[in-house]
Symmetry: C2
Subunit: 152 residues, 2 copies
DNA sequence: ACGGTATCTACAACGATTGTTGAAAAACAA
DNA sequence: TTGTTTTTCAACAATCGTTGTAGATACCGT
């Protein structure tokens, strides 16, 4: 995602108007690595702007997604999560316990689909969700298990 | 997923009662490769049993998932999809256009997370969603493009 | 067949998201 | 600056997928 100033420019040049609410949302998203839900963004924005509505947040998030400035993710936590990092190719780590989402910046060159297994699909991209426990949800100290290879 | 008869047995032995509605759902799911939503299962069941309710379908699907007989998937199509294939390890192909979901039976042994990239997560499993166009949604005949390697 | 108990249907409620509306504020020109 | 046009705002209600509640019904061990 670009800086708030660049986004302001981009909104103007694509015929969108720039409001205080939108700039507030730009600021909130800037550098956020938690993949917030719309509700979370709303809560953060509200701490700066008392009256901003949830609808406005949704609207602006959709605008940003449409411009490719953020990505809307569905990783099975019940809410759409928004990811301001659209520059590095990456996948996602999702905590089974608390739903935390983090970027896993890595590419996996060996994701070739075996001949004939694609059922006639023309595949354009692949998203990997790694599920496990985040540092905060791991059992503390003593009984930490050793990392295990990831299954299918 | 097991056969309807085996499921009947399994439901009884786990203290669940077996009703005509449930057996109808067992039958509907048997051999289904379309990863139906609850609504779809309901529609199919209804063609056999006029009065079966959507709630009953949800309940039975959850029971089956709890027993590990089917898997509940969220692949970003807005509804939970149910997969009776829990025996072969596999991933999923999702059509960007129509939302069709198919199994891709393959394992990817090279999904090791690079040292230090896991941000302290203890990763237990990985799910890959391949996105593209299904055969039905591909542009017809003439301008078919050649398969491209899948990106990140 | 009987009775205890789980399950059924219908209906209302829920959380996340989207549509609608009159009011307010941004962009642009004079 | 001021006026004019057009977009966006906030509040509210509605929608979608899903789950909770209730009384009626059906399963299944005896």
């Amino acid at each position: 995602m670009r800086t708030p100033d660049e986004l302001t420019e981009r909104f103007r040049s694509t015929g969108r108007k720039v409001t205080a609410q939108r700039q507030c949302i730009f600021r909130v998203l800037q550098g956020d690595v938690t993949h917030p839900s719309a509700e979370s963004v709303h809560a953060l924005a509200r701490s700066e702007m008392e009256t901003i509505s949830l609808k406005t947040v949704y609207q602006t998030l959709h605008d940003l997604a449409e411009l490719g400035e953020i990505a809307a993710l569905d990783v099975g936590t019940g809410m759409t999560r928004f990811d301001p990092n659209v520059d590095d190719p990456h996948h996602h780590l999702v905590c089974r316990n608390c739903g935390r989402v983090r970027d896993l910046v890595a590419t996996f060159p060996d994701l070739q689909i075996p001949e004939g297994a694609d059922l006639g699909f023309e595949v354009g991209s692949a998203e990997i969700v790694f599920r496990g426990l985040c540092p905060e949800c791991l059992p503390t100290s003593s009984d930490r298990r050793t990392p295990s290879p990831v299954g299918p």
